[in-house]
């Protein structure tokens, strides 16, 4: 019901929306909750466990009951708090956890079965018979569990993540936060003021007390106008600071598009990481309910929420309101209601000495003992020192006092301190370095105290920032005392709710204590109190007060559970913004990517790189056909392949040779200029790190090649060895992988192809030579190295010429009868010659395992040498990499087993044949095995560049995987 003349909503802008199919109208500035209340909708959902009718309890992000689904396009967002969701044109909301309808929900039968559904019900009930668990209990529980539901569609909406930096982050823009931000901003600090609400002002938007001689809202607007005009201030509305991390890093979630009709270019949410040198926690306080029988009926809400709906949204949540409190919040609400012309039935004040109130009945020393009403509140029972009575009412405001919103101060393992005077936990000073709690979040509940404390906190922060606070007068404000008489639960029969979201009652907590779950952490887990989306914001203190009473301890001795991040729910989609599909990892493309894709080559991932699997020709239907053709092409003619993905590290300096001798097992100081050598690199623990060729381009200039997979790893390793163990050496390293495009040209016609291309034909250029050449006038580098076993060259040009060179090389190769080849062919070519890759040197292999122990120089030290000689890393017990060829024409399958000649039949039944490159424990007896003892030594890139062996009978193919 709207009250004329009240509220800050824009009544000139009407907004149409739907709830459970019903067309309703609200105003600009409404939340879904305020608009529903304005339309007289009180029943908005069903509770989690008992499917009890539920309404709206609060007016903020702590709402435990009014959770709805928002539908837009193929998006279906569950568990949206109606108190946070702003109204926008065309908003479609739906109640959840009910079937077939909100009013007639079949699972409401759970409520009748409540005596059997107490805490620990699952643990006690579903233990037997055991076979029932999988077939009956689990599917049944799964169907009943949860609140909202998802669409089942991929979330293809846009989300963002962003970073921000500031001197001072002010969390919350109520009186405390505004005053802190204003003070710091005037002092010249870079300030971010963040508030989870759509409109800044906090409680000042919801109260009628004057501020600075006029309406509080006017003061808020004046301060915001000044802050907006300052270049050193950033105001972030709809931004909830949700987590605290080390060194002044804060996580925050901004609702960017959730309050607007969906638009293609608008992200829904943005997850911020804010780094602040100092921060002020001005998050205010949350009003807590009181537990009494059937206190969860729609129409029961916190007293402060009633004032918010009345004063901010111009909505009266009831026609005849009753209030029940242990402090003065009930009176404040009653006065505002009466002034707005809303009937107040009575104030039930639990304090026996409660003073009378003008124009309103006060029941001193009274408590509410029960409520009635099927889908909404209609009547309450009251007990007071003089007897008992019933009152007809459709809205009951309750206040058990205030809890400071101190959650963020606990995120770095801080524990709050119990304040007996406030009957609440307050932040422990210094709980988070650089985070200063102030105002309501610290336990100060009058506006004047909050304003003064906001300024104090800013002055403290400015001191840490070496800035001087300007002189500023505090505005005149309400300064009422806060007195309460602790009351957590009204004794009596019937279920009294503590945790509205997870359906946990006083009885459940008492039962937990009876069954020896007396620790607050055990009670929480046994009852699930505080484990719902509101994370116990409305129930934690009440539940542990009941536990303390039941166990005969005080609240400080009982302790609290830990508040963990996030303060309010954060969608995974926002935290993972940008990480969907292709955004999951960066994509690295070689310079030949475009011509490769143009030729229809399927691309496979090699780390972050994309490399061609094979280059299909018309008529080829499988990868294998293309692969076989490409292998024959290289063996018989010439092939071209992009090898730019291999890591390239430039190493220079007078001590470059000495440095390479330290990182490689073999010697590079003896390598002549203009030559290339294969090198093996160990980790310090003696296992193989990587292999590759290194060229000596000049006396003090080397170029190292790493495998594609280990390029980053080797760079990191070289930097470590150099900085840690080579102090004072004249050597520098840098990755030049992306600076050069490099192509392998392999096959009998490789030299012919090169000579057609180079500005000067090759004369004497022996195996393992390197040197400068010129291609179409461009300086290039040529290396005579081979990974295929054929005559091979690698030609490198500055990366900007890569695409042009690839196209040219491929055209020339095709003229000669050759062409490009992909990873499949590359792997067949190299494995036929026993060249290794990271498929074999996988981190658990030693130089001995791959038959390269002879490459570990005896004449010098190197990284990994000492550890490589440890017992267990050499010797007959090690697995040994050997090359094998099958007998006959049978192609081996991946994972095939070896068998002894003569036992073929039995072996075939088991699995078949063998796979080249298989690690076998004892290769010796293979001489008489089903596979001939053709064992080419595994080798590096220059190890066996000769022709295929005369005994080669049948090329043996690997399955499509792995790459150089």
């Amino acid at each position: 019901m709207r009250i004329d003349g009240k509220g800050l909503v824009d009544r000139s802008t009407r907004i149409d929306f739907r709830f459970d199919g019903q067309a309703l109208t609200g105003f600009e500035g409404d939340t879904l909750a305020s608009a529903l209340l304005a339309n007289g909708v009180k029943l908005v959902g069903r509770s989690f466990k008992y499917h009890r009718p539920r309404g709206i309890l609060t007016a903020g992000s702590e709402e435990p009951s009014a959770l709805v689904e928002i539908l837009e396009g193929n998006q279906q967002t569950p568990n949206v708090r109606a108190t946070v969701q702003e109204l926008h044109e065309g908003l479609v909301a739906r109640s959840q956890n009910r079937w077939p309808s909100l009013k007639y929900d079949l699972l409401a039968v759970n409520d009748l079965a409540a005596p059997f559904l107490s805490a620990g019900f699952y643990y006690k009930t579903f233990m037997w018979p055991r076979a029932f668990w999988e077939s009956l209990y689990e599917p049944m529980i799964r169907r009943a569990a949860g609140l909202g539901s998802l669409s089942g569609q991929h979330d293809d909406a846009a989300y963002e993540k962003a970073y921000a930096f500031c001197d001072l982050l002010v969390i919350g823009a109520g009186p405390t936060g505004l005053m802190a931000a204003l003070t710091a901003a005037r002092a010249g600090a870079d300030v971010i003021l963040a508030d989870e609400d759509a409109r800044m002002g906090g409680r000042l938007l919801a109260e009628t007390a004057p501020l600075d001689g006029g309406p509080a809202v006017d003061w808020v607007e004046r301060v915001l106008a000044e802050l907006r005009s300052m270049p050193n201030v950033r105001l972030m509305t709809r931004t909830a600071v949700t987590s605290v991390h080390d060194d002044g890093t804060y996580g925050a979630l901004e609702r960017v598009g959730l309050h607007l009709a969906p638009a293609a270019d608008l992200p829904r949410e943005c997850f911020w990481r804010i780094v602040a040198r100092q921060a002020v926690l001005a998050a205010g306080a949350l009003e807590r309910p009181i537990a009494f029988a059937n206190n969860d009926r729609p129409g029961v809400m916190t007293a402060s929420a009633i004032r918010t709906y009345l004063n901010r949204y111009g909505v009266a949540p009831g026609r005849k309101v009753t209030l029940f409190a242990n402090n003065d919040e009930a009176r404040r609400t009653a006065r505002d209601l009466i002034a707005a012309g809303v009937s107040v039935a009575a104030i039930i004040d639990s304090r026996p000495d409660a003073a009378p109130e003008d124009g309103c009945r006060v029941i001193a020393g009274g408590t509410v003992t029960d409520t009635r009403g099927r889908h909404a509140l209609s009547q309450i029972s009251v007990s007071h020192p003089g007897g008992s009575l019933t009152l007809d009412t459709d809205c009951l405001g309750i206040s058990g006092g205030w809890n400071p919103t101190l959650h963020l101060t606990c995120h770095l393992n801080g524990r709050p301190t119990w304040d007996a005077g406030l009957a609440a936990f307050v932040p422990t000073p210094g709980a988070v370095p650089g985070l200063i709690p102030a105002g309501g979040a610290k336990g100060l509940f009058s506006t004047a105290a909050c304003l003064a404390d906001g300024r104090r906190a800013a002055v403290e922060a400015l001191g840490a920032l070496d800035l001087t606070a300007p002189e500023m007068a505090l505005p005149e404000a309400e300064d009422a005392a806060y007195t309460l008489h602790p009351l957590w639960a009204v004794p009596g029969k019937g279920r009294a709710w503590l945790d509205f979201a997870n359906d946990v009652t006083v009885k459940d907590v008492e039962l937990a204590a009876q069954e020896s779950f007396r620790s607050v952490e055990h009670m929480k887990r046994y009852t699930t109190q505080g484990m719902a989306p509101d994370q116990g914001k409305n129930s934690n203190v009440g539940a542990l007060a009941v536990l303390a009473d039941t166990t005969g301890r005080g609240i400080p001795e009982t302790g609290t559970t830990t508040f963990r991040p996030p303060f309010s729910p954060v969608s995974i989609a926002a935290m993972g913004a940008g990480g969907r599909a292709e955004g999951f990892a960066p994509q690295r493309f070689t310079t030949s990517h475009r011509p490769t894709v143009e030729r229809g080559a399927p691309m496979i991932e090699a780390g972050l790189w994309y490399r061609p699997s094979y280059f299909p020709k018309p008529g080829e239907t499988t990868w294998r056909e293309a692969c076989d053709r490409e292998v024959r092409m290289v063996r018989g003619c010439v092939g071209v392949s992009d090898v730019s993905t291999l890591g390239k590290i430039d190493i220079q300096g007078a001590d470059a040779a000495r440095f390479l001798d330290l990182v490689y097992t073999n010697t590079f100081s003896t390598l002549p200029v203009g030559r290339v050598r294969y090198g093996l690199m160990l980790r310090e623990d003696g296992h193989v790190l990587d292999d590759g060729t290194t060229a000596r381009l000049g006396e003090q200039h080397y170029l190292m090649t790493t495998t594609t997979a280990a390029a980053g790893l080797v760079m990191r390793h070289l930097d470590f060895v150099q900085q840690a163990f080579c102090k004072g050496w004249d050597v520098r390293t840098i990755s030049v992988t992306e600076a050069w495009a490099q192509f392998a040209i392999a096959g009998p016609k490789a030299r012919a192809l090169l000579n057609s291309l180079l500005d000067a034909p090759l004369s004497d250029f022996p195996f393992m030579a390197c040197g400068a050449v010129s291609v179409h006038g461009t300086p290039a580098r040529l290396f005579r190295i081979s990974f295929s076993g054929e005559e091979g060259y690698e030609l490198a040009v500055p990366a900007r010429y890569g695409e042009a060179l690839f196209r040219d090389l491929v055209n020339r190769a095709e003229t000669l009868g050759g062409g490009p080849y992909g990873m499949e062919a590359l792997n067949v070519l190299r494995i036929e010659k026993g060249f290794i890759t990271h498929a074999e040197i996988h981190g658990r292999t030693t130089a001995f395992d791959i038959g390269m122990e002879g490459m570990v120089s005896a004449k010098k030290d190197c990284i990994g040498k000492a550890a490589a000689q440890r017992p267990g890393l050499v010797g007959p017990a090690r697995e040994q990499l050997v090359g094998l060829r099958p007998l006959g024409d049978q192609a081996p399958t991946a994972g095939a087993h070896l068998f002894t000649l003569g036992e073929e039949g039995e072996a075939r039944d088991r699995s078949g044949l063998c796979h080249l490159g298989l690690l076998v424990a004892d290769a010796g007896p293979l001489a008489g095995a089903g596979l001939p003892a053709q064992r080419p030594r595994p080798q590096g890139r220059d190890g066996a560049a000769g022709r295929p062996s005369a005994r080669h009978r049948h090329p043996l193919r690997g399955h499509p995987s792995g790459c150089a």
Binding site: Y163, D246, D247, P433, F720, Q723, A724, K727, D861, A867
Partner: protein, 87 residues
Amino acid sequence: MRITCPLCGTRDRREFYYYGAEDYLHRPAPDAAPETWDDYLHLRDNPAGETRDLWYHELGCASWLVVTRNTVTHEISAVELVAEVSA
């Protein structure tokens, strides 16, 4: 978590690669006893309190750093270049 690189200034931890304890800097002589090598490669303290770790500013200046950090309070008290820490 933020680390103040002596060359680049204060940066987010995502720019750094974590390696392990500072022990890796104290490489034994090639002919040291196997126990010494075993210590160097495998045995690490797990202190509740101050620890010295190796970090690599991989997305920055490529410096290896010794970060002195408290495992209880998470406070970082010193960041030095490996190249300037005496071996």
